[in-house]
């Protein structure tokens, strides 16, 4: 068996505030294999986002260890192993769509040829090559989020960290982007850690669903999603799809 790409061992996170300490995560252990799509679902404030941030070395865990690609999370971040997508697109209004996607390559000091070519390929991948010269405000919310995904892929990260990326979108756009995201992950062979509030979305996308309980956040259950791939509109109509949705819903109670 291949060694896991992400390995969390009894990770805890406590946020110290002036008056009190909030325990966001309590002894979370999880390992994720390469190419997996793992969703994290749970009630608000259950530490889903904290878990994602600990993996991405955006916050330090208070206890426990995080290993990513056999390295510390910090080293993985410095090696640019992560691509991050937030709930809001966080695009820079002074940059065109193309320049936004180019930013990570610029920061990493990649050669000029790559900086010219790669963003175009990525925009094609998310179906926005016609909008390269537009500014972010000229795009709809769904399109902006696609730009944000393209940008996350710019440095060919082995791990995609996504924090409710489609949470602010309407149902139809969300389903279309779910489909696109699966294609993107298949093409790039990236491992995905995906925080969501939507049970159906988690079932549709994931190979496994991590169900968390509230404060302090801990893993309640892990549901393995055995739906066939490739997945599409037909997947959503399968009896097994509904069974899994029900199973996750009951775990959340």
């Amino acid at each position: 068996m291949a060694s896991p790409i992400i390995e969390l061992d009894r990770v805890a996170k406590t946020f110290e505030n002036r008056a009190r300490a909030t325990e966001a995560l309590a002894a979370v252990s999880l390992s994720v294999e390469g190419g997996e799509f793992v969703s994290i679902i749970g009630p608000s404030g259950c530490g889903k986002s904290s878990l994602l941030r600990v993996v991405g070395d955006l916050v330090e865990p208070s206890a426990g260890t995080v290993r990513v690609n056999g390295k510390s999370a910090r080293q993985a971040r410095l090696d640019r192993d992560y691509g991050i997508v937030f709930q809001t697109p966080v695009l820079y209004e002074w940059r065109t769509v193309l320049e936004n996607v180019e930013l990570p390559l610029e920061v990493a000091g990649r050669p000029r040829a790559e900086r010219l070519q790669r963003p175009r390929e990525l925009l094609r991948l998310v179906g926005l090559d016609d909008f390269a010269g537009h500014y972010p405000w000229q795009l709809s919310g769904g399109m902006q989020q696609r730009v944000s995904i393209a940008r996350a892929l710019a440095l060919n990260p082995s791990i995609l960290l996504m924090d409710e990326p489609f949470g602010a979108l309407d149902e139809m756009t969300r389903e279309r982007l779910n489909q696109e995201l699966l294609q993107v992950c298949a093409e790039t062979a990236a491992t995905a850690l995906f925080v969501t509030h939507s049970i159906a979305e988690a079932v549709f996308l994931s190979s496994r669903i991590v169900v968390m309980s509230a404060r302090p956040g801990r893993i309640d259950r892990i549901v393995t999603v055995d739906l066939p791939r490739p997945r599409g509109d037909k997947t959503r109509a399968l009896p097994r799809f509904f069974e899994l949705v029900t199973e996750v819903r009951q775990s959340l109670r």
């Binding site: 941030r53 966080v90 820079y92």
Partner: protein, 254 residues
């Protein structure tokens, strides 16, 4: 054609305003020393032209030098202060409060400190423009969303890259709002400072001395020159703004 359509309404308003002014002065036979008619002011402008140019340049130099030093210093200070958010948070309230300090009231003291020539006026303009620019730049540099910084962190970006690629462009709109306001403040500060004393060949002294002799035509012609120079500085800032932030204008006019 587009230029005509854009500016024609404004030109018409100006023409209407001037006509109304002329009409009121004529209809109510207002004494010329109380309110001279526009054509009289323009006439006086023509007669005094060489002097007004010299005096205008003298005052304008104070405004521009003070503006450059004050705004430039404000931006530099903000860059230093924002490198330590704790320190910035400590000094920012005072910088904000300085907006309510009548800095022009220091003009007589500035003359004591820096002499009756341009130095004292420049000092006042520097004080007037430094704080608004400092406040706006600091807020802009520190106002970047946490997610923006997290993204840059995930690219393993250096502080320098974060500053030039995110913080600075993010704060440009705020900086230019301050610069526009300061362009106006600079000209006001220079003229008003001269009221407290200065060489004869400056707009402020000329306005004050002619007005006190009821030579209102002459005073008005100098006021007109001050207005024109103030607008010149203001539009220079607007032009710089357009060049620095093409994306901004595409959005707000597109």
């Amino acid at each position: 054609m587009r230029i005509v359509r854009e500016y024609a309404p404004a030109a018409l308003v100006l023409a209407a305003g001037l006509s109304l002014w002329e009409a009121i002065v004529y209809l109510f036979s207002i004494e010329f020393y109380l309110l001279p008619a526009p054509h009289v002011i323009v006439q006086s402008l023509g007669e005094n032209y060489p002097f007004l140019v010299e005096a205008g340049l003298y005052t304008f130099t104070e405004a521009v030098v003070g503006f450059a030093l004050g705004c430039g210093g404000g931006m530099l200070a903000a860059m230093v202060a924002s490198s330590s958010p704790g320190f910035a948070g400590l000094v920012l309230p005072y910088a904000v409060a300085s907006a309510s300090v009548p800095i022009v009231a220091l003009a007589p003291l500035a003359i004591v400190w820096f002499g009756v020539e341009q130095g004292s006026k420049i000092a006042i303009v520097v004080l007037l423009t430094f704080f608004p620019t400092f406040v706006a730049t600091t807020r802009g540099l520190l106002g970047v969303t946490p997610q923006s910084l997290e993204l840059m962190r995930s690219y393993a970006a250096s502080e320098r890259q974060i500053f030039f690629k995110i913080r600075l462009p993010h704060s440009l709109p705020m900086i230019f709002i301050a610069l526009r306001a300061c362009a106006t403040l600079a000209m006001i500060g220079a003229v008003v400072s001269e009221f407290f004393g200065g060489p004869v060949k400056s707009l402020g002294v000329y306005i004050k001395s002619t007005a006190s002799l009821f030579q209102t035509r002459e005073a008005w012609s100098a006021i007109l020159v001050a207005c024109a120079l103030g607008l010149l500085l203001y539009f220079a800032v607007v032009l710089a703004e357009r060049l620095a932030m093409p994306w901004h204008f595409e959005r707000h006019e597109g």
